[in-house]
Symmetry: C2
Subunit: 334 residues, 2 copies
């Protein structure tokens, strides 16, 4: 019998999420049934969006529950296959959750291509990269020469979204919550400018960084950053609503920004929410493009790692406080 460590949702957060909202347990690894595959977790993606699933309010993740394994995308190695399409040792992307082993129907697994650190399938080649890709290109629709603003720009999706806009020939301005992140966005990822929203002079600095206004705003935050961005939008601008990280780690979301809908009208702005899952039929083609940009050096994928399953709650709490740079990954096994 193989032991399976699991991290369960112990309680729902009242205000900010803490490590005490989780507990570790140990059980026997499950047995795959006919057509199923047992997967050994190698690495777990830690993503802000899963915080919404712990809120009382409805989210696309459904109603929150306690006593279940915390959800999360994983890169895993096939440990036991009862389906012809997979063999022991194959690397796959799956929704393994915060545990050592998980069982899946073969149809739920995505094969990880060789030649790249498989953990990139939790980042630039996974949901983060696909979200940045479809959100920027299909929802934001930037045109060469336009100014593109990205919030949570050093985050898992934001750092990729900004680079994708830069590849389209846009002037790219990032918003982040720390000066060192801002510097790295410019020096490492070739953003044109980056502004710290925690700076007392944020609004002035934001305007200075966008002298021609904002044509596309890729919004990962909502809240005040969205409000400021709205006032800077150009006529005909587009806002791709990707996430509301400013609102996840609370049970009392703020009201929406002033200027909705008034400014949307005055500036003829289109504001559109999206979920990457709607683009599922086009994932393969998008992954090929993202991989090509990585191989050519146009797209740099930041990975930000914690070591050990037991560190997953700490990695998540820190992420929600803005501690990550790029995709946060918890390495569970080699």
């Amino acid at each position: 019998m193989t032991a399976n460590r699991q991290i369960l949702i112990h309680s729902l957060p009242e205000e900010k999420l803490s490590e005490a909202n989780y507990r570790m347990t140990e059980t026997a690894a499950p047995e795959p049934g006919a057509g199923q595959v047992l997967c050994r977790t190698l690495a777990i993606a830690i993503t802000a969006g899963t915080r919404a699933g712990l809120q009382g309010s409805a989210s696309y993740a459904g109603a929150p529950k306690t006593g279940i394994v915390m959800n999360g995308a994983t890169v895993s190695r096939v440990a036991n296959s009862r389906h012809d399409a997979f063999r022991e040792g194959d690397l796959v992307l799956c929704s393994g959750g915060w545990q050592d082993y998980s069982v899946h129907e073969a149809g739920q697994l995505t094969r990880v291509e060789p030649g790249v650190d498989p953990a990139h399938y939790l980042g630039a080649l996974g949901t983060n990269g696909l979200t940045a890709y479809f959100g920027m290109l299909e929802v934001g629709q930037p045109r060469s020469g336009e100014t593109v603003l990205v919030s949570a720009a050093a985050g898992s999706v934001g750092h990729l979204a900004g680079q994708i806009a830069r590849i389209q020939g846009c002037r790219v301005v990032g918003v982040a919550g720390a000066d060192d992140k801002c510097r790295a966005l410019v020096s490492e990822l070739r953003f044109d400018e980056a502004v710290n929203y925690r700076s007392p002079g944020y609004r002035t600095e934001f305007k200075a960084a966008c002298p021609k206004g904002v044509d596309v705003y890729f919004d990962n935050t909502g809240g005040d950053i969205l409000g400021t961005a709205l006032r800077g939008m150009n006529v005909g601008g587009r806002i791709a609503c990707c996430g509301v990280v400013s609102q996840y780690d609370t049970s009392h979301p703020e009201p929406g920004p002033r200027g909705v809908p008034g400014l949307l009208i005055n500036k003829r702005v289109r504001m559109q929410g999206f979920l990457v899952f709607d683009f599922l039929p086009r994932y393969d083609a998008a992954r090929r493009q993202l991989r090509a940009w990585m191989d050519s050096g146009d797209l740099i994928a930041w990975q930000d790692e914690y070591q050990g399953l037991q560190r997953a709650p700490a990695a998540f709490v820190d992420l929600l406080a803005g501690g990550n740079r790029g995709t946060r990954v918890v390495r569970v096994a080699d």
Copy 2:
């Protein structure tokens, strides 16, 4: 010398607009210069959107001023023409403002076609009708069988927008502020349902009127009605942001609705502001379609009239309090 009565903006409203914010004066009618046309005002359109121009905050109408003639679209008769394209007695649509006479460059005049009460050029065949037409069809993009919600549904734009959606084969639900308006929307304009947002059971009644959710919301109000509508949107829904009448008659606009951007993301909703002026090159074709629908009886244009220039301030104050049904017009001369 011909006398020209004018109604001036005497002071800017602090909170709600009142008749005391206006004063009447009398001056000599202006003389048209070469290429210009002197127009006698026959009727003035009273529209909620012009209230935004009296707010301190920026609007598409520009910064507010006092001591100037209140602006407004008019149907006028040419009294003296110094341009070959117009002759005395011609009927035109222009931005005459709240006064008996106004002078215009010939290129700023739109000819009023015969065979219909010219005041319809202030309503169904004017900016209201064009706004309803382009906002519903181009921004809302309703498809047959979908549920379309319209706020301020008995208003100048709303009563037309709802009928245009009904002509597309949609189930149309109106929101209005009085039971008699709601009844008239159903009985006279053939809306499928109409709900009074002032009813204590509004949210329940709203849900009952939209059992399949809302696919397109034509928003004339913003505020709480927008917030409730947002929660009722279907996946892939569209919100055409046309006006914020709930926010015009105040100097302290409310914050935006909760759920922006969170609900936009969960439901993949597109929210888009528009101004009818952006569709200027297509006005003629749209007017022909609107006129055809009027002639066939598919589109009923409600007109709501006050008599006499001096009544314009009262007509506007009452409009902002929701007193109108359809397009409010002040008749100035025959």
